[in-house]
């Protein structure tokens, strides 16, 4: 039995467990409901806005002022100004991408906080530890979490894509490619947060502590970004994964690749920390 086989067995078992787990189903449904509800509100508000523009005969004026463009740049940063494909996407898909990036880290934490801490608490990890490398157990569990998250993102994106398919202002090709791109980027970003969750799950024997610490870490990373607005603390921005997010939408390799590398580095760092802790700790 080699390591990839070990990882595949653990991953398959975890996926099977997740499929039967009420927790996974509830979180899945909850996320879908919150996303749908938020999407509904977004569509309602933008629809009402459009109706008002038409009623007041102000659409041309608004178009001339580039209000939509400014709104997109507000959410995606000034760096998005030369990303033509972004402005051709249906607004709902842009909203959905941002919604995922904001809420999925919390979903990742809620899904995976007990993946190791739960088994450390009951010591059931001992049954695996005499048969599989600890690194294989960790990677198998993280991969299973990633697969669940990927399924959620793909299903939700598919729903969002079908919903916007009829949007007259967007071409089908651009929308499809943009959605695929958003899916990939979302999963890249989430890999870092899944690894962060695995780290905190490996650090403690108590699932509740793992949950609290991981959520605190999310807030801390968000605070790093906020503190970086002060000139004297600007260097802190490089420690926060969110800093690298805006450049991900760029089509220029020189801009996008460093950000992709940064997210992969964050994932490797957190996962390496989890592995080091799991290898050295008493089970």
């Amino acid at each position: 039995m080699n390591r990839p086989q070990e990882i595949a067995l653990v991953c398959g078992h975890e996926l099977n467990r997740a499929v039967r787990s009420p927790k996974a189903a509830i979180l899945f449904l909850l996320y879908a409901l919150v996303a749908s509800f938020s999407g509904f509100i977004f569509i309602h508000v933008t629809g009402a806005f459009d109706e008002q523009l038409d009623a007041l005969h102000m659409r041309d004026l608004v178009d001339q002022m580039g209000v939509y463009r400014k709104a997109v740049l507000l959410f995606f940063g000034e760096g998005a100004a030369d990303q033509a494909w972004l402005f051709q996407m249906p607004p709902f898909l842009l909203f959905f991408y941002k919604f995922n990036l904001f809420f999925l880290p919390a979903f990742a934490v809620l899904m995976g906080f007990d993946q190791l801490s739960g088994e450390l608490q009951t010591r059931s990890l001992r049954y695996l530890a005499t048969r599989a490398h600890r690194s294989s157990v960790l990677l198998g569990k993280v991969l299973a979490q990633f697969a669940i998250l990927a399924l959620l993102v793909v299903l939700m994106s598919l729903g969002a894509l079908l919903f916007t398919r009829a949007a007259p202002e967007s071409s089908w090709g651009v929308t499809l490619l943009g959605t695929l791109r958003f899916c990939g980027l979302t999963l890249l970003v989430m890999s870092a947060y899944l690894s962060l969750t695995a780290l905190f799950s490996a650090l403690t024997r108590t699932p509740l502590y793992a949950l609290i610490f991981a959520l605190c870490a999310l807030v801390f990373l968000w605070l790093l970004g906020a503190l970086a607005n002060f000139d004297s603390l600007a260097f802190l921005r490089w420690l926060s994964p969110a800093t690298y997010e805006p450049a991900l939408i760029s089509t220029k390799p020189g801009e996008v690749l460093p950000s992709v590398a940064a997210y992969l580095a964050f994932s490797a760092l957190f996962l390496g920390g989890a592995l080091t802790r799991l290898r050295s700790r008493d089970l």
Binding site: R17, R123, Y127, A129, T130, H133
Partner: protein, 322 residues
């Protein structure tokens, strides 16, 4: 069964003389506390070794070190000739029943056992067959689909025992295997252990039930505060004090006459078990000389003898060491 394990492909490991377990100078500290202090132990293939000691003596810590749950501060552990600590060396070679580990509560028994067997290198069908076979041997063949979290303590213990024996490992560590089992299940387990011994699997068993260990083990180690008080073959441990135990049917016996016998050094009587413990005079050619003299006197005086054994019981031996 474990054809895929590296150790089974390793020629030296196949040698029948290779100990199933060889521990040298093992030390484990938890902060200022030395939990294991220079433990050395060798168990031959097929041997059943008892691990005896009060709570906190270091039994479970030793088990955890052998299984790789803890890392040692000093010393070496070799399982079937291979260094412990690397899972590639241990997989399928060692089976462990941890004392305080719960089975994954949301997994069904069958799914959990099949996963463990597959991680030992078995194909899916073979793993399922092996899991079902062991589940049947521990008397739980109907619990295949039961979630582990719904099992009673005794049932979970039996599933734990089944997983420890999956794939016929060379060495099985059983930490308090009958704790919490009802008498019938405990008896079944003892019979199971006896049958496994015949297949050549070496066993290391810790238990507070000394009569159980006495019945099952070939040898034993008595630990206290992480140190070995004594170890050796069970017959040596229980007979070296030159003591015989005579059980009688009644409560009266010629105590003075017995004490006056030249072969008797000391005598005590336990009314509850109606058992005399007689320490024989030092320097006898063989304990049998003393046994013959004692029996002759008892029969002559008409005392009905219902049982006789040589040596201290393990319990008395353990107590005498403290």
């Amino acid at each position: 069964m474990n054809t895929a394990t590296p150790s089974s492909q390793d020629a030296p490991a196949q040698n029948a003389q290779t100990p199933a377990l060889a521990i040298e100078g093992l030390v484990k500290r938890f902060g200022a506390l030395t939990a294991i202090d220079g433990l050395s132990l060798t168990i031959a293939p097929g041997e059943t070794h008892g691990f005896i000691g009060p709570n906190g003596a270091g039994k479970t810590t030793t088990f955890s070190l052998i299984a790789g749950f803890l890392s040692a501060d000093a010393g070496s552990i070799r399982v079937n000739g291979q260094a412990a600590g690397d899972i590639s060396n241990l997989r399928g070679v060692i089976g462990v029943l941890p004392q305080d580990a719960l089975l994954p509560p949301k997994d069904t028994v069958g799914r959990a056992l099949t996963l463990y067997a597959r991680l030992q290198g078995m194909a899916k069908a073979e793993a399922e067959g092996e899991a079902r076979r062991w589940l049947e041997r521990v008397g739980l063949k109907d619990s295949w689909k039961a979630p582990c979290g719904t099992l009673s303590h005794g049932m979970a213990k039996r599933v734990g025992i089944a997983q420890a024996f999956l794939g016929a490992p060379k060495l099985v560590l059983l930490d308090e295997p009958t704790a919490g089992l009802d008498p019938k299940s405990a008896h079944q387990l003892r019979e199971l252990i006896r049958s496994v011994r015949e297949s050549g699997t070496a066993l290391l068993i810790s238990s507070h039930n000394l009569s159980e260990l006495e019945a099952l083990c070939d040898s034993a180690t008595i630990l206290e505060r992480g140190r070995v008080l004594t170890q050796g073959a069970l017959s040596e441990l229980t007979s070296e004090l030159n003591v015989i135990r005579v059980q009688i049917a009644g409560n009266t016996f010629p105590e003075t006459a017995l004490r006056d016998l030249w072969v008797v050094h000391d005598l005590s009587f336990d009314k509850a078990s109606r058992t005399m413990s007689i320490t024989l005079t030092a320097g006898l050619d063989a304990p049998e000389v003393g046994i013959a003299e004692v029996l002759k006197l008892l029969l002559r005086e008409g005392v009905p003898v219902s049982g006789l054994s040589k040596g201290h019981g393990l319990e008395a031996r353990v107590i005498s060491l403290k």
